[in-house]
C-alpha cells in the first residue's frame, strides 16, 4: 500500500521549545494509525502543522501523492483531509443539524442556495441518527455536553467524505458507551476505505484499534510498529517512564 500522507523533517519551535524536531512519518492508505507519546511530545502540534493551522518552520508534507507546499486548512479539506480538535470545536450558535451540514464542502455559486438544502439535511439527519444526536438536531450546539460535542464534531467531519481523518483524542471526556460508538464508527468508516490517524492517551483503545502505532518523544518519532511491538519497545517505555 502506498503512503496517503507522508511528512518529513517537520520542525516547529515555540520560543526556545522545539515542539517538533525533524519529525517524519507516513500513514499508509487504509490504515488506522495512532500517534502516541508523553504529554508535550508534539502530537497536537504535528496535527496543527499537517492540517495547516500552524505553519511549520521547515519540513515537507505530501498528501495523496502530491506535495503540499503551504498547507492551508481550507485547501487540505478540499483534498480530502479532515480533522477534529483536542477540545471539541463546534459552532455554538448554530443548530446541531447546521453544524453537520457545514461539513459539506460548498461552492461559491451555492452560497445563495438554501441554508440547509434538502439533500444535505437528509444526509445530516442520517448521521445524527447514527451518533444518537437526532433528538438534539434543532437545538443550538451550545446546549450539548462535552462528549456530545465530540461526537458532533466527528459527525460534521464525515459530511465531506474525507480520505484521511485526523482525530485528536476522540475518547477524552466521552462516556464508555459513546467510546464504543466512536470505535464502531471508526471501524465502519475504515471498512469504507477511510484512513485514520488518531492521537490518543487511552491505550486500550489504541491497542484494540490501531496499527501502526507511531510514538513521538520530544517532537521526534522514536518508534513506528504494530501495537504489540510498541508495547515492548524499550525506547518507548523509557520515553513514558523516564530515564
Amino acid at each position: 500500500m502506498s503512503a496517503l500522507l507522508s511528512v518529513a523533517g517537520l520542525t516547529k519551535s515555540f520560543g526556545g521549545v522545539r515542539a517538533l524536531d525533524d519529525c517524519g512519518f507516513e500513514v499508509a492508505e487504509g490504515a488506522v494509525g495512532a500517534l502516541i507519546g508523553p504529554n508535550g511530545s508534539g502530537k497536537t502540534t504535528a496535527f496543527n502543522v499537517i492540517t495547516g493551522y500552524q505553519a511549520a518552520d521547515s519540513g515537507s508534507l505530501s498528501f495523496r501523492g502530491r506535495v503540499v507546499r503551504r498547507p492551508d486548512p481550507c485547501r487540505l479539506q478540499r483534498l480530502g483531509l479532515a480533522r477534529t480538535f483536542q477540545q471539541p470545536r463546534v459552532f455554538p450558535g448554530l443548530s446541531v443539524l447546521e453544524n453537520v451540514v457545514l461539513g459539506r464542502p460548498q461552492h461559491w455559486h451555492a452560497l445563495l442556495g438554501r441554508r440547509v438544502p434538502g439533500t444535505d439535511r437528509r444526509r445530516a439527519e442520517a448521521l445524527l441518527e447514527e451518533f444518537g444526536l437526532a433528538a438534539h438536531a434543532d437545538r443550538p450546539a451550545a446546549r450539548l455536553s462535552y462528549g456530545q460535542r465530540r461526537l458532533l464534531e466527528f459527525a460534521s467531519v464525515l459530511m465531506a467524505d474525507p480520505a484521511l481523518i485526523l482525530l485528536d483524542e476522540p475518547t477524552a471526556g466521552v462516556n464508555p458507551v459513546m467510546v464504543e460508538t466512536m470505535e464502531r464508527h471508526i471501524r465502519r468508516r475504515h471498512d469504507e476505505g477511510v484512513t485514520f490517524l488518531i492521537v490518543e492517551h487511552e491505550m486500550r483503545f489504541v491497542m484494540r484499534l490501531c496499527d501502526p502505532v507511531i510514538v513521538l518523544d520530544r517532537g521526534r518519532p522514536i518508534a513506528c510498529a504494530a501495537p504489540s511491538d510498541v508495547q515492548n519497545d524499550p525506547r518507548v517505555l523509557d520515553a513514558y517512564l523516564g530515564e
Binding site: R115, G132, A135, T181
Partner: protein
C-alpha cells in the same frame, strides 16, 4: 405537506410579517402627517435600515465594525456631487442615483474590505473606525470635489411644501424594505450559514472548507453598499452636507447600539432597536442637544442594554416565550407520561454495527 413546508424558504408566518411590515411603512406618514412627525419617521426608518445593514457584517458575521459612517458619508458625498456638480437636477431624478451609488460604494470598498478583514475582533473595530476618520479627513481636504469644511449644498427639491418630507420618507422606506429583504435572503441562504460559522469559529469554518474570505467580503460590501444608499437619500433630504456630519462617528455607534438593543442575531432586532432608540435619540438631542448631554444618555442606554439584555430585546423575549411554552408543555407531558424527559442522548440499542 410538511415536507413541502420544510423545503420552502418563505414560511407563511414570515410572509405575513413582511406584508404587515410594508403596510405599516406605507401608512405611517399618513397617520402622522405633521412635519416634525414625518421628519422623525424619516430618521427612524433610516436608522432601522442602517442598523439592519450593519447587522449583515456585525451581527451575522460577528465582525464588530464601528466605522460604517465612512460608507454613509461616501454615499452622501456621491449624491451631493451627482445631484449638484454633475447636474442630475432636483425633483425625483436624484433618487435614481441611489442604486448606482450603492453599487459604486460596494465596488470601491471591496479592496479596503479585503485588507480590513484580515484582522479580527478589537483590531478590526479599531481599524474600521480609523478608516472612517481617514475618509472624513479626505473629505475635509479634497476641496475641489467636496468643498472642504464649507460643505456642499444640494439642489432643493421642488416638492409640495405641505408634504415635503414624504418622497424622502418613501425613498428611505423602500431602501429599508430592500435592506431587510437582503438580510432575509442572506439569513436563509448558505451564505448566512457560512457567516454564522465565521462568527462562531472562523478557523474551524475554514478547516471545514467554508470560503471564509469570500463570504466575509460579500457581507462587508453588501453592508457598505446599503449604508451608502441611506447616506445618499439623507444628503438629498438635508440638502447641505459637511464632512463632520456626513462622516459622523456617532452615526456608526447609534446603528450598532440599535442592533445590539434589538438583537443582533435576528432579522427584526435592528428594526426594533431603531424604533425604540430612534425617537428617543431625537428627543434627547432636542432637549439636551446644546450641552451634548444626550451623548451621556446614549452611553447610559448602551450600558443598560449590555447589562440587562446582552442578547437584545427580540432574543430575550423569544427565549422567555419559549421557556413559558416549554414549561407549559412539560407540565402537560408529565401529566401524560411521567417518566419521559430525555436530556442525554439515548444510547443506541444493540443490533447495529
Amino acid at each position: 405537506m410538511t415536507a413541502l413546508h420544510a423545503e420552502s424558504r418563505l414560511r407563511r408566518a414570515g410572509a405575513a410579517r413582511a406584508a404587515a411590515f410594508m403596510a405599516v411603512l406605507a401608512v405611517l406618514p399618513f397617520l402622522f402627517n405633521q412635519h416634525w412627525q414625518v421628519n422623525l419617521l424619516v430618521f427612524t426608518v433610516m436608522y432601522a435600515g442602517l442598523a439592519s445593514a450593519w447587522n449583515l457584517l456585525g451581527g451575522y458575521a460577528g465582525y464588530p465594525a464601528l466605522g460604517h459612517g465612512a460608507f454613509f458619508g461616501l454615499g452622501a458625498y456621491a449624491m451631493a456631487i451627482g445631484a449638484g456638480h454633475l447636474g442630475a437636477g432636483a425633483g425625483y431624478r436624484p433618487f435614481l442615483l441611489v442604486p448606482l451609488i450603492a453599487l459604486g460604494t460596494a465596488i470601491v470598498v471591496a479592496p479596503i474590505a479585503r485588507v480590513l478583514l484580515r484582522t479580527r475582533a478589537v483590531a478590526f473595530a479599531v481599524l474600521s473606525i480609523t478608516v472612517m476618520f481617514m475618509v472624513q479627513t479626505l473629505a475635509y481636504n479634497i476641496r475641489g470635489l467636496t468643498g472642504g469644511s464649507q460643505g456642499l449644498a444640494l439642489p432643493i427639491a421642488p416638492f409640495d411644501a405641505a408634504t415635503f418630507e414624504r418622497p424622502y420618507y418613501f425613498a428611505m422606506a423602500v431602501l429599508l424594505v430592500v435592506t431587510v429583504g437582503v438580510c432575509w435572503v442572506v439569513r436563509t441562504s448558505k451564505l448566512g450559514l457560512a457567516l454564522n460559522a465565521v462568527r462562531d469559529d472562523e478557523d474551524r469554518a475554514r478547516g471545514l472548507g467554508v470560503q471564509t474570505e469570500t463570504v466575509k467580503l460579500l457581507a462587508f460590501v453588501l453592508s457598505a453598499g446599503l449604508t451608502a444608499a441611506f447616506g445618499a437619500v439623507w444628503a438629498y433630504y438635508i440638502s447641505y452636507i459637511v464632512p463632520g456630519f456626513a462622516f459622523d462617528p456617532l452615526l456608526s455607534l447609534v446603528a450598532v447600539l440599535m442592533a445590539f438593543l434589538g438583537g443582533r442575531t435576528t432579522l427584526w432586532g435592528p428594526i426594533t432597536g431603531a424604533v425604540l432608540v430612534g425617537p428617543a435619540q431625537q428627543y434627547f438631542a432636542y432637549r439636551f442637544g446644546a450641552s451634548q448631554l444626550y451623548l451621556i444618555a446614549y452611553a447610559a442606554l448602551f450600558l443598560l442594554v449590555i447589562y440587562l439584555l446582552p442578547d437584545g430585546v427580540i432574543p430575550s423575549a423569544s427565549r422567555y416565550l419559549d421557556r413559558a411554552r416549554t414549561a407549559y408543555r412539560s407540565r402537560a407531558t408529565r401529566r401524560d407520561r411521567p417518566d419521559q424527559v430525555p436530556m442525554e442522548p439515548v444510547p443506541p440499542r444493540g443490533g447495529r454495527g
